[in-house]
Every structure is written in C-alpha cells, then in structure tokens.
Subunit: 366 residues, 2 copies
C-alpha cells in the first residue's frame, strides 16, 4: 500500500499537550514535522520526519523578500473507534500543485505528500483531539529558500508539514457572523493570484479585515477587483446564498479560491436535489433579494470553520439581517452532514475519507 | 547629530570578499546585519548590529504562511575621496512606512532607520565597492514572526537590514532591453497592494516574467488590472516615454509603486525644463505614437538599474522598435546625471545625498 519510505527521526522529549477541551486555533504544534528539500538539478529530495523545530534561513532567503510561498490547510479527525480520518487530502495536494504552478514553484508528488501526511499523523497520533468541535489542523506549505536578492523564481525550496490540534476557528463557532461588504480594498483580480493559496493574498486582505473589525464586523465580503460589483468570497471562505429556494454560489472565475469545502457542499446540495447554480452574483442582486424577502440564508465554507452562517451584511450604510440573524436550515444540515462524515459518524457516500492507518482499518472491517 | 545608540556585536571573523570587478547582483552579503524586534506592548525594541547570520524562525511564523512582509532597496556609493554616500534614504524609509501601513505592520522610526543604515555601513565600510557601475545595495525588510496559524496581523515582527556589494542588475547594463507587453497576468489592481513594496506583488509577477523570458523578452510591461489598457510599470521599474518631445509617465494611481528614481527623474526633467506630464497612458496611445514615428524613447527607472532604456516592445504579435533599439539621448543624460550625483561627481543640487560619515564630511569641508 505504501511505497514511500521516509527517514524518521523521533523527538527524544515530548511536549506538554494543551487541554483538548480548551483548544484555540493555530497556537499549539505537535512534536514532529515533515520536511523535504528542493534544489535545482536534484529536484525534490530527502523527505523526512523530524522533531518540530525552528527553520534556519539566510536573511536573504527569497521568501522573506519576494513572497514566493504556497500553503494548504486540511484536517484530520478522531473517530469514536480511535481511528484517524483525513478529509479529502488528495484535493488539497492537487490544489497545492495548482498554486505551485501559478507561483512558479516546482510541482510535488501528490501521492508522496499524502503518504507523508499519513506517516506524520501516525507518529503524532496522540495529538489528534477528540472533544466535540476539535480536530487536528494540518498545514502543508512550501517556501522559497534560495539566498538571493533579485526578482526571479527561487532555485531552492522547502516543503514542510506542521500540525496543530485545534478548536473552533471563529469564536462564534456555528453561530452566525456579521459581515461588512468591502468596496475600497480588493483581495484579488482576474490575472492575479486569487485562485492560488499564496501568502500575498492573505497579507493584502488584512487591511480590510482591520477596518471591518473596527466597526464591529468579524469578516469582510470581497467584491471582484475589476468592477467592484460581483461577490467573490467572505473572509477566507467561499460564499453561498439561498435565494428563493435556490442555492447560489459565485462561479470559479480565476480570482476565487477553489475550496474543498465549497466542492463538497456543491456535491451534497446536488445529492439532495436542491436547485443550485454556480454563476456571477452581484451585490445588487443580494441587496434586492434581501429587500424582497428572498434572501433566505447565507454562509461561508472553509476547512477551518466548515460552515459559517452569516447573520448580517453591512453594505452602503445599511444592515441586511438574514434569517433573523439565526443559523439557517441548510447551513445547519450541511454542517451536521459534513462534520458527521468527517468524524466517521455518517456514511462516507462520496469517498471523501482517507484513513490514516489503512491496515488497521482493514483489520477492523474483517 | 546622532542620538541613536545601537548595541554593536562585531563578527570575530571576516568573510572573504568577492572580486569587486566581477560582482553580480544580490549574491554576496557583508559581515554584519541590523536587527530590531517588535512585540505588542513593548513596540520596536533592541536595535542592534550583529554578525550576518541565519534567522531562526518557528515553522508557523506568520511570514511563511500569510506573506505579511515589506521591504526596501537603496544604494550607497563610494566617492573618489573614499566617502560613502547614500541616495535619498529618507525617501525609502518613508515608503517603508507607507508599505507598513497597507500591510498592517507597525510603523518604524524613520530617523532611527537611517541612523541604523549609517552605523551598519560604517561597520562594513570596506564592503562598499568602487569599480565602475558597482555599489552597495541595501535591503531593509520587515517580516511577521509570530508563531500562529490564522489570518490576522501578526503581533511580532523583525526589522532587518542586510547589504550586498553589487554590479549591474540587468546583464544588459545600460543597453536597451526588450519588453513584452503582458495582457493575461496582472501585477496589481486599485485597492490591492501595488503601491506597497510587499513580497506578494513580486511573487505574483513571476509567472508573466517566465512567459516573457521564454519568448526572448527580458521584462514585462504591466497594464492596469481593471481595464487591461493603461500602462503601469515595467518589470519592477517605473516607466517613462518620450512622445513627440514630451516626457510622459503614468500617474500614481494606487496600483503603481512610487519609485524614488521616478521621483528623482521627474525633478531632473522639470529642472531641465523639458515638457513633462504624469497622466494615464494607454497601450493604444503608445502603439499609435510608435506608428506615427513620435515614440522617441522609452525607459524604466529603479534603484537597481537606475535607468534602463527600452529598445523594443512586443505587443499583439508586433514588434515596436524604439530609437533603432539604441539608448536615447534623455535616457543617457538621466543615467549620467543620476549616477554622477550618486557617486559624488556632480553637484547635489537637490539635496539627495546623505553622507554616511557626517563628521568626516564636515572635517574635510573645513
Ligand atoms: C481565500 C480562501 N477562500 C476559500 C477557502 C476555503 O477553502 P477550503 O474549503 O479548501 O478550506 C480558503 C481556505 O481554506 C481560503 O483561504
Ligand atoms: C514594482 C516596482 N516599481 C518600481 C520600482 C522603482 O522604485 P525605486 O526607484 O524606488 O527603486 C521598484 C523597485 O525598486 C519596484 O519594485
């Protein structure tokens, strides 16, 4: 089953684990990490699992200057039978390679990356939390490491995977968030890097986020960079609306990130035979739908929060309250279904789950 | 003159210097670096000069994931009297703070930064090369260092200055470069980060650069992200045209970087009483001007190359050759004047030069 062999160098000491019932997002890291190097000529080489430790980089390492970096985010879950399940890891590695292509970073072997995940999770198995709403957040990323000042693609990279036991991403949890529509700052534009998962997109989003937070909004709704008219994403999530019984989500247009959760939600909606359309959605349409009482639900989708219901939009000095600021029926059903599949409580009809320990899985099925 | 005192920890060994007559750009670094830390509550603190050394950063340090980083580039020159001159360093530190603002990074003390430069250059004085066309390239930069996964502004940063003795940035030197007009990929858009000097802008530019190079063009001419119509920049330089006797450059519009060289060129052109206009310039206008024989010169401006004449544009499957592919009169005059002032050979009428060692300067003037 697994032709990939990695050198494993186990940590001699183990860190103190945080209390799994009080986890915050992204602050605690497991005992080990995966690292693989790229140098021109040799390609990707030396995949290895080593103790979690600082990176040593020359101050001229290109990532510090020219932002050539990509990353992914996915989760693993502990089932009641103590099995560890990953949710659609191949999708993330595919997207990592699409991001790599846009950022001129050499492609990785996607199968190797999933096997690396598997082995790393096995090594740090006791870091997968089991409390309600918790999971092991996995962060694969690639940075350009060549020591060189000059605008060009790097000739050296590191591919690294770190892992963090996490609780809810938004302090609101599954409770609806309030969103400010952003029309001054732009997250991405066609021809830019909006559909790649690269640091610059997030750096450029901070200012609008700061402005929104100052007015008491927790996230930003991004409009397209060309016309400032079409809805693109919300915070770092994809966005869905329920308008007059139909689920509507912005079509992939080159500046929207192709979310794994978005894709899974679309498959579920289709499976449930609820009308769905992927198309351009203008902010005016949303405003009109709200005015006519047809904007029934709105929610963001992403690995971190899974489903994040939207209770209110702030646009043009007006507050548009959705579904009385409460979690809608579809949002709730999607959340329960997705987290149910992820935790192994519901049947995995779509083949989304990859078990970390396949052997054990087979044994227990006999 | 200098109220800033930095802790200085000198390197016990000195690196072997490269041959100053064979310098390439951005590959060799001096013996020391400047570092200052930021933590919330304490603000910027512990400014110090230390031996050039690797940075140690947690793999979750935010810069690796969310690209929150800014940088600057400026140069110092050795005069025939062995004095070291910096070119408009305050302008760079002002711009660094504008970039900081856009990227939600806490402002630095600009005077402190210039004094840091001064002391760092003094310490590594013998790294300033004196051969024709060489200089000491200075790279101040700020990176977000907080170990945290989550899209938010970091609460910890490092401000670092490293220096590199350099030769010509483009292998063409002052010889004209060939430029491909880019209409698929976009560098920046209004509302984005185009007018900030942050890594993401450069990362996103690599793909177009790669495409251009494959067709034998050394740089890309960027059009605006909204209409794909107006000229913005060339490679990582600002762009100027001479059309029918008038110098024309795209106006600052929020997506163009405000170059220090651009500003200096504008001051020189005004001083020479040559007609100048800062305005929108469409690629169609350039095409028409060329067809009518009125496109007399085109050149890029930037710290690295100072003036980089453009010999040819490739657009819509057509080659537009400018001034027979030769360096134009204004390009040459600007290059000679700017480098003359920078090297202390021409009078500094505009107050652009800051001497590294003011005391010595005063003494030698008596
Ligand atoms: C900008 C952006 N959009 C959307 C998403 C949602 O993607 P996914 O469902 O794969 O997590 C993410 C993050 O993960 C994101 O960063
Ligand atoms: C994108 C971009 N435009 C223009 C410039 C020119 O600016 P300056 O003249 O200050 O070097 C630079 C670089 O330095 C740049 O990176």
């Amino acid at each position: 089953m697994n032709d990939y062999q990695f050198e494993i160098n186990l940590s001699s000491t183990k860190k103190q684990k945080p209390a799994f019932d009080q986890l915050v997002f992204g602050r605690n890291f497991t005992d080990h990490m995966f690292v693989m190097d790229y140098t021109e000529g040799r390609g990707w080489h030396d995949p290895r699992i080593i103790p979690y430790q600082p990176l040593q980089l020359d101050p001229s390492a290109m990532v510090f200057h020219y932002g050539q970096s990509v990353f992914e985010g996915l989760k693993a879950y502990l089932t009641e039978d103590q099995e560890v399940l990953m949710f659609r890891p191949y999708k993330n590695m595919e997207r990592l390679n699409r991001s790599n292509n846009r950022l001129c970073i050499p492609a990785i072997d996607e199968e190797l990356a999933v096997q690396a995940l598997r082995q790393l999770i096995s090594v740090d198995h006791d870091w997968v939390p089991n409390e309600e709403g918790t999971s092991l957040y996995i962060r694969p990323f690639i940075i350009s490491t060549e020591p060189y000042l000059g605008v060009a693609a790097s000739h050296q990279y590191q591919f690294i995977i770190i892992m963090s036991p996490v609780g809810a991403y938004y302090k609101e949890g599954i409770n609806p968030v309030k969103i400010a529509v952003q029309s001054e700052y732009v997250r991405a534009v066609k021809g830019g890097t909006g559909n790649a998962k690269t640091g610059g997109n997030y750096a450029s989003s901070l200012k609008a986020q700061e402005v929104a937070e100052k007015s008491g909004y927790s996230q930003v709704l991004w409009l397209d960079g060309k016309e400032n008219k079409y809805v693109e994403e919300v915070g770092s999530m994809n966005i869905f609306f329920k308008i007059n019984g139909e689920i509507v989500t912005p079509e992939l247009n080159g500046s929207i990130l192709e979310g794994v959760t978005r894709n899974s939600v679309i498959e579920l909606i289709k499976h449930w035979e609820i009308p769905l359309s992927e198309r351009k959605v203008s902010i005016d349409e949303i405003y009109e739908a709200h005015k006519n009482g047809q904007l029934e639900e709105a929610f963001g989708t992403g690995t971190a929060a899974v489903i994040s219901p939207i209770g209110e939009f702030f646009w043009n000095d007006e507050k548009l309250v959705i579904n009385n600021g409460e979690t809608g029926e579809i949002s709730r059903k999607l959340y329960d279904t997705l987290t149910g599949i992820q935790k192994g409580k519901l049947e995995d009809k779509f083949g989304w789950i990859v078990k970390v320990d396949e052997e054990k899985a087979v044994t227990s099925a006999i």
